[in-house]
Protein backbone atom coordinates (compact mmCIF):
# COMPACT_ATOMS: atom_id res chain seq x y z
CA UNK A 1 0.00 0.00 0.00
CA UNK A 2 1.47 3.35 -0.97
CA UNK A 3 1.94 6.16 1.53
CA UNK A 4 -0.78 8.23 -0.16
CA UNK A 5 -3.35 5.46 0.11
CA UNK A 6 -2.44 4.78 3.74
CA UNK A 7 -2.62 8.51 4.46
CA UNK A 8 -6.07 8.68 2.84
CA UNK A 9 -7.47 5.83 4.93
CA UNK A 10 -5.93 7.22 8.09
CA UNK A 11 -7.11 10.78 7.40
CA UNK A 12 -10.65 9.56 6.71
CA UNK A 13 -10.76 7.54 9.91
CA UNK A 14 -9.48 10.49 11.92
CA UNK A 15 -12.14 12.81 10.49
CA UNK A 16 -14.78 10.19 11.34
CA UNK A 17 -13.57 10.09 14.94
CA UNK A 18 -13.57 13.88 15.25
CA UNK A 19 -16.45 16.31 15.10
CA UNK A 20 -18.28 14.32 12.39
CA UNK A 21 -18.15 11.18 14.50
CA UNK A 22 -19.60 13.00 17.47
CA UNK A 23 -22.46 14.26 15.33
CA UNK A 24 -23.19 10.81 13.88
CA UNK A 25 -22.95 9.45 17.40
CA UNK A 26 -25.63 11.77 18.71
CA UNK A 27 -27.94 11.51 15.68
CA UNK A 28 -27.79 7.72 15.64
CA UNK A 29 -28.47 7.58 19.38
CA UNK A 30 -31.44 9.88 18.72
CA UNK A 31 -32.68 7.68 15.89
CA UNK A 32 -32.33 4.54 18.00
CA UNK A 33 -34.36 6.21 20.72
CA UNK A 34 -37.00 7.33 18.24
CA UNK A 35 -37.19 3.88 16.62
CA UNK A 36 -38.01 2.39 19.99
CA UNK A 37 -40.91 4.83 20.43
CA UNK A 38 -42.39 3.80 17.09
CA UNK A 39 -42.46 0.14 18.05
CA UNK A 40 -39.66 -1.22 15.85
CA UNK A 41 -37.58 -3.97 17.48
CA UNK A 42 -33.97 -3.26 18.44
CA UNK A 43 -32.64 -5.46 15.62
CA UNK A 44 -34.90 -3.71 13.11
CA UNK A 45 -33.57 -0.33 14.24
CA UNK A 46 -29.95 -1.51 14.02
CA UNK A 47 -30.48 -3.18 10.65
CA UNK A 48 -32.22 -0.12 9.20
CA UNK A 49 -29.22 2.09 10.00
CA UNK A 50 -26.79 -0.58 8.81
CA UNK A 51 -28.30 -1.25 5.41
CA UNK A 52 -30.27 1.91 4.54
CA UNK A 53 -27.68 4.38 5.92
CA UNK A 54 -29.66 7.55 5.25
CA UNK A 55 -31.03 9.08 8.42
CA UNK A 56 -33.79 11.31 6.98
CA UNK A 57 -35.39 8.35 5.19
CA UNK A 58 -35.01 6.20 8.30
CA UNK A 59 -36.99 8.84 10.19
CA UNK A 60 -39.60 8.79 7.42
CA UNK A 61 -39.70 5.00 7.63
CA UNK A 62 -40.14 4.96 11.41
CA UNK A 63 -42.72 7.74 11.29
CA UNK A 64 -44.83 6.09 8.57
CA UNK A 65 -44.56 2.74 10.33
CA UNK A 66 -45.85 4.43 13.48
CA UNK A 67 -48.98 5.67 11.69
CA UNK A 68 -49.49 2.26 10.01
CA UNK A 69 -48.91 3.47 6.46
CA UNK A 70 -48.98 0.79 3.76
CA UNK A 71 -45.76 -0.90 2.69
CA UNK A 72 -45.98 0.66 -0.77
CA UNK A 73 -46.35 4.17 0.69
CA UNK A 74 -43.33 3.62 2.95
CA UNK A 75 -41.13 2.36 0.11
CA UNK A 76 -42.17 5.21 -2.17
CA UNK A 77 -41.50 7.80 0.54
CA UNK A 78 -38.07 6.31 1.23
CA UNK A 79 -37.28 6.24 -2.48
CA UNK A 80 -38.30 9.89 -2.94
CA UNK A 81 -36.41 11.03 0.16
CA UNK A 82 -33.26 9.33 -1.07
CA UNK A 83 -33.39 10.47 -4.67
CA UNK A 84 -30.91 13.16 -3.64
CA UNK A 85 -28.21 10.45 -3.59
CA UNK A 86 -28.21 10.34 -7.39
CA UNK A 87 -26.93 13.91 -7.89
CA UNK A 88 -24.78 13.59 -4.77
CA UNK A 89 -22.98 10.46 -6.02
CA UNK A 90 -22.73 11.86 -9.54
CA UNK A 91 -21.15 15.06 -8.22
CA UNK A 92 -18.76 13.33 -5.80
CA UNK A 93 -17.50 10.38 -7.88
CA UNK A 94 -15.63 12.33 -10.56
CA UNK A 95 -13.65 13.95 -7.73
CA UNK A 96 -12.75 10.73 -5.89
CA UNK A 97 -12.48 8.33 -8.81
CA UNK A 98 -8.79 8.81 -9.60
CA UNK A 99 -7.19 7.21 -12.66
CA UNK A 100 -7.81 3.47 -12.55
CA UNK A 101 -10.37 2.68 -9.86
CA UNK A 102 -11.57 -0.80 -8.96
CA UNK A 103 -15.27 -0.79 -9.68
CA UNK A 104 -16.36 -2.59 -6.50
CA UNK A 105 -14.64 0.11 -4.45
CA UNK A 106 -16.74 2.77 -6.15
CA UNK A 107 -19.94 0.82 -5.51
CA UNK A 108 -18.88 0.36 -1.87
CA UNK A 109 -18.05 4.06 -1.57
CA UNK A 110 -21.52 4.88 -2.93
CA UNK A 111 -23.13 3.00 -0.02
CA UNK A 112 -21.25 5.31 2.38
CA UNK A 113 -22.50 8.46 0.67
CA UNK A 114 -24.88 10.06 3.14
CA UNK A 115 -25.22 13.75 3.90
CA UNK A 116 -22.35 14.13 6.36
CA UNK A 117 -19.70 12.00 4.61
CA UNK A 118 -20.66 13.59 1.30
CA UNK A 119 -20.36 17.16 2.57
CA UNK A 120 -17.00 16.39 4.23
CA UNK A 121 -15.63 14.61 1.16
CA UNK A 122 -16.78 17.42 -1.17
CA UNK A 123 -14.96 19.88 1.11
CA UNK A 124 -11.72 17.97 1.68
CA UNK A 125 -11.10 15.76 -1.37
CA UNK A 126 -10.44 18.48 -3.97
CA UNK A 127 -7.46 19.62 -1.84
CA UNK A 128 -5.90 16.12 -1.72
CA UNK A 129 -3.77 13.99 -4.03
CA UNK A 130 -5.91 11.93 -6.40
CA UNK A 131 -4.80 8.58 -4.93
CA UNK A 132 -5.73 9.66 -1.41
CA UNK A 133 -9.33 10.60 -2.14
CA UNK A 134 -11.12 7.24 -2.51
CA UNK A 135 -9.36 5.70 0.53
CA UNK A 136 -10.28 8.88 2.44
CA UNK A 137 -13.98 8.38 1.71
CA UNK A 138 -13.82 4.63 2.41
CA UNK A 139 -11.98 5.17 5.70
CA UNK A 140 -14.33 7.92 6.81
CA UNK A 141 -17.52 6.27 5.53
CA UNK A 142 -16.63 2.84 6.90
CA UNK A 143 -15.79 4.17 10.34
CA UNK A 144 -18.94 6.30 10.53
CA UNK A 145 -21.04 3.42 9.25
CA UNK A 146 -19.80 0.97 11.89
CA UNK A 147 -20.08 3.57 14.67
CA UNK A 148 -23.53 4.66 13.55
CA UNK A 149 -24.91 1.13 13.36
CA UNK A 150 -23.60 0.21 16.81
CA UNK A 151 -24.78 3.49 18.33
CA UNK A 152 -28.30 3.04 16.96
CA UNK A 153 -28.46 -0.01 19.21
CA UNK A 154 -27.03 2.01 22.09
CA UNK A 155 -29.67 4.74 21.54
CA UNK A 156 -32.41 2.12 21.48
CA UNK A 157 -31.25 0.77 24.83
CA UNK A 158 -30.86 4.27 26.29
CA UNK A 159 -34.37 5.28 25.18
CA UNK A 160 -35.89 3.58 28.15
CA UNK A 161 -34.39 6.32 30.32
CA UNK A 162 -34.28 9.18 27.80
CA UNK A 163 -37.07 11.73 28.32
CA UNK A 164 -38.94 13.16 25.30
CA UNK A 165 -37.48 16.66 25.58
CA UNK A 166 -33.94 15.34 25.16
CA UNK A 167 -35.07 13.25 22.21
CA UNK A 168 -36.57 16.36 20.57
CA UNK A 169 -33.25 18.16 20.94
CA UNK A 170 -31.43 15.23 19.33
CA UNK A 171 -33.85 15.10 16.39
CA UNK A 172 -33.49 18.85 15.80
CA UNK A 173 -29.70 18.56 15.83
CA UNK A 174 -29.69 17.51 12.17
CA UNK A 175 -31.50 20.68 11.10
CA UNK A 176 -29.04 22.90 12.98
CA UNK A 177 -26.09 20.94 11.63
CA UNK A 178 -27.12 21.32 7.98
CA UNK A 179 -28.00 24.98 8.46
CA UNK A 180 -24.45 25.62 9.72
CA UNK A 181 -22.97 23.69 6.78
CA UNK A 182 -24.97 25.87 4.36
CA UNK A 183 -23.64 29.06 5.97
CA UNK A 184 -20.09 28.17 4.92
CA UNK A 185 -20.85 27.61 1.24
CA UNK A 186 -19.16 30.16 -1.03
CA UNK A 187 -19.89 28.80 -4.53
CA UNK A 188 -22.40 31.18 -6.08
CA UNK A 189 -24.74 28.73 -7.82
CA UNK A 190 -24.89 26.55 -4.69
CA UNK A 191 -25.68 29.56 -2.49
CA UNK A 192 -28.56 30.46 -4.83
CA UNK A 193 -29.74 26.82 -4.87
CA UNK A 194 -29.76 26.68 -1.05
CA UNK A 195 -31.74 29.94 -0.82
CA UNK A 196 -34.27 28.78 -3.46
CA UNK A 197 -34.63 25.40 -1.75
CA UNK A 198 -35.07 26.91 1.71
CA UNK A 199 -37.81 29.28 0.49
CA UNK A 200 -39.61 26.89 -1.88
CA UNK A 201 -39.32 23.80 0.34
CA UNK A 202 -41.99 24.60 2.95
CA UNK A 203 -44.27 26.27 0.39
CA UNK A 204 -44.23 23.29 -1.98
CA UNK A 205 -44.60 20.95 1.00
CA UNK A 206 -47.95 22.57 1.84
CA UNK A 207 -49.28 21.71 -1.61
CA UNK A 208 -47.50 18.42 -2.39
CA UNK A 209 -46.15 16.86 0.82
CA UNK A 210 -45.16 13.56 -0.84
CA UNK A 211 -43.33 15.12 -3.76
CA UNK A 212 -42.08 18.36 -2.22
CA UNK A 213 -38.41 17.35 -2.06
CA UNK A 214 -38.23 16.27 -5.68
CA UNK A 215 -40.18 19.26 -6.97
CA UNK A 216 -38.22 21.77 -4.90
CA UNK A 217 -34.88 20.24 -5.77
CA UNK A 218 -35.62 20.20 -9.46
CA UNK A 219 -37.21 23.65 -9.67
CA UNK A 220 -34.91 25.42 -7.18
CA UNK A 221 -31.74 23.75 -8.48
CA UNK A 222 -32.57 24.48 -12.10
CA UNK A 223 -33.46 28.08 -11.27
CA UNK A 224 -30.16 28.53 -9.41
CA UNK A 225 -28.23 27.00 -12.30
CA UNK A 226 -29.72 29.40 -14.84
CA UNK A 227 -29.48 32.47 -12.62
CA UNK A 228 -25.79 31.70 -12.12
CA UNK A 229 -25.25 31.16 -15.86
CA UNK A 230 -26.93 34.49 -16.54
CA UNK A 231 -24.71 36.30 -14.01
CA UNK A 232 -21.68 34.63 -15.57
CA UNK A 233 -22.57 35.88 -19.04
CA UNK A 234 -22.86 39.39 -17.67
CA UNK A 235 -19.22 39.07 -16.59
CA UNK A 236 -19.97 38.65 -12.92
CA UNK A 237 -16.43 37.43 -12.24
CA UNK A 238 -17.20 33.87 -11.18
CA UNK A 239 -14.17 32.45 -9.39
CA UNK A 240 -14.83 28.87 -8.38
Amino acid sequence: MSEEIKGGWWGGMQVALGVQGMIILTTCIGYGALARETGLSSWMAIASTGIIWALPSQLVFAELYLVSASGAAILLAVMITNMRFLPMVVSLLPIIRGRAPQRWRLFLAAQFVAVTPWAVAMRDCPKMNEEERLPYLLGMGGTLWILGTVLTGVGYLLAVNLPTYINLGLVFLMAIYWMLLFIDIRQREIVIAVICGAILGPLVYLQFPQWSLMITGFVGGTLAFFVDARLRNKGGGHEQ
Partner: protein
Protein backbone atom coordinates in the same frame (compact mmCIF):
# COMPACT_ATOMS: atom_id res chain seq x y z
CA UNK B 1 -48.03 -5.35 10.15
CA UNK B 2 -46.23 -8.59 11.02
CA UNK B 3 -42.58 -8.50 11.98
CA UNK B 4 -41.73 -10.47 8.84
CA UNK B 5 -43.35 -7.75 6.72
CA UNK B 6 -41.33 -5.08 8.52
CA UNK B 7 -38.12 -6.96 7.74
CA UNK B 8 -39.10 -7.11 4.06
CA UNK B 9 -39.78 -3.36 4.16
CA UNK B 10 -36.34 -2.67 5.62
CA UNK B 11 -34.79 -4.78 2.87
CA UNK B 12 -36.96 -2.99 0.29
CA UNK B 13 -35.86 0.37 1.66
CA UNK B 14 -32.25 -0.67 1.16
CA UNK B 15 -33.00 -1.61 -2.46
CA UNK B 16 -34.76 1.68 -3.31
CA UNK B 17 -32.03 3.67 -1.52
CA UNK B 18 -29.04 1.90 -3.05
CA UNK B 19 -30.78 2.12 -6.42
CA UNK B 20 -30.01 5.86 -6.56
CA UNK B 21 -26.45 5.39 -5.30
CA UNK B 22 -25.73 2.63 -7.81
CA UNK B 23 -27.25 4.58 -10.72
CA UNK B 24 -25.12 7.51 -9.60
CA UNK B 25 -21.95 5.41 -9.92
CA UNK B 26 -22.96 4.22 -13.39
CA UNK B 27 -23.88 7.71 -14.59
CA UNK B 28 -20.84 9.44 -13.13
CA UNK B 29 -18.41 7.91 -15.64
CA UNK B 30 -19.92 10.10 -18.33
CA UNK B 31 -19.77 13.32 -16.37
CA UNK B 32 -16.75 15.58 -16.13
CA UNK B 33 -16.33 17.64 -12.97
CA UNK B 34 -16.37 20.82 -15.04
CA UNK B 35 -19.47 19.87 -16.99
CA UNK B 36 -22.59 22.00 -16.79
CA UNK B 37 -24.59 18.86 -15.97
CA UNK B 38 -22.39 18.30 -12.94
CA UNK B 39 -23.06 21.81 -11.68
CA UNK B 40 -26.76 21.43 -12.41
CA UNK B 41 -27.13 18.18 -10.39
CA UNK B 42 -25.15 19.77 -7.54
CA UNK B 43 -27.68 22.61 -7.53
CA UNK B 44 -30.54 20.09 -7.42
CA UNK B 45 -28.93 18.18 -4.53
CA UNK B 46 -28.35 21.32 -2.49
CA UNK B 47 -31.83 22.72 -3.20
CA UNK B 48 -33.32 19.42 -1.97
CA UNK B 49 -31.23 19.44 1.19
CA UNK B 50 -32.08 23.07 1.89
CA UNK B 51 -35.77 22.24 1.40
CA UNK B 52 -35.50 19.35 3.88
CA UNK B 53 -33.79 21.52 6.51
CA UNK B 54 -36.10 24.48 5.96
CA UNK B 55 -39.10 22.17 6.31
CA UNK B 56 -37.70 20.70 9.55
CA UNK B 57 -37.47 24.25 10.93
CA UNK B 58 -40.72 25.74 9.62
CA UNK B 59 -43.07 22.79 9.04
CA UNK B 60 -41.66 19.75 10.83
CA UNK B 61 -43.33 16.34 10.66
CA UNK B 62 -43.06 13.69 13.33
CA UNK B 63 -41.88 14.27 16.90
CA UNK B 64 -40.73 17.84 16.20
CA UNK B 65 -44.35 18.82 15.63
CA UNK B 66 -44.63 19.01 19.41
CA UNK B 67 -42.30 22.05 19.47
CA UNK B 68 -43.30 25.64 18.70
CA UNK B 69 -41.91 27.61 15.78
CA UNK B 70 -40.41 30.25 18.09
CA UNK B 71 -38.56 27.51 19.98
CA UNK B 72 -37.02 26.13 16.81
CA UNK B 73 -36.12 29.61 15.55
CA UNK B 74 -34.60 30.49 18.91
CA UNK B 75 -32.48 27.32 18.81
CA UNK B 76 -31.30 28.10 15.26
CA UNK B 77 -30.55 31.71 16.15
CA UNK B 78 -28.56 30.75 19.21
CA UNK B 79 -26.59 28.13 17.24
CA UNK B 80 -25.77 30.73 14.57
CA UNK B 81 -24.74 33.29 17.16
CA UNK B 82 -22.40 30.83 18.88
CA UNK B 83 -21.05 29.74 15.49
CA UNK B 84 -19.94 33.25 14.62
CA UNK B 85 -18.86 34.35 18.09
CA UNK B 86 -16.76 31.24 18.71
CA UNK B 87 -14.99 31.14 15.33
CA UNK B 88 -17.13 28.52 13.63
CA UNK B 89 -16.92 25.95 16.39
CA UNK B 90 -19.42 23.36 15.12
CA UNK B 91 -19.69 21.24 18.25
CA UNK B 92 -20.22 24.25 20.51
CA UNK B 93 -22.89 25.65 18.16
CA UNK B 94 -24.70 22.31 18.03
CA UNK B 95 -24.63 22.05 21.81
CA UNK B 96 -26.09 25.56 22.05
CA UNK B 97 -28.92 24.82 19.58
CA UNK B 98 -29.79 21.38 20.95
CA UNK B 99 -29.41 22.68 24.52
CA UNK B 100 -31.89 25.48 23.75
CA UNK B 101 -34.56 23.00 22.58
CA UNK B 102 -33.96 20.73 25.58
CA UNK B 103 -34.13 23.62 28.08
CA UNK B 104 -37.27 25.05 26.45
CA UNK B 105 -39.03 21.68 26.45
CA UNK B 106 -37.90 20.61 29.89
CA UNK B 107 -40.96 20.18 32.11
Amino acid sequence: MSSEQVWWLILGSFVVTYFWRGIGVLMSTRVNVEDSIFRWVSCIAYAMLAALVSRMIFLPAGPLEQTYLYERLLACGLALLVYFVFRRNLILSLLAGVGAIILLRMP
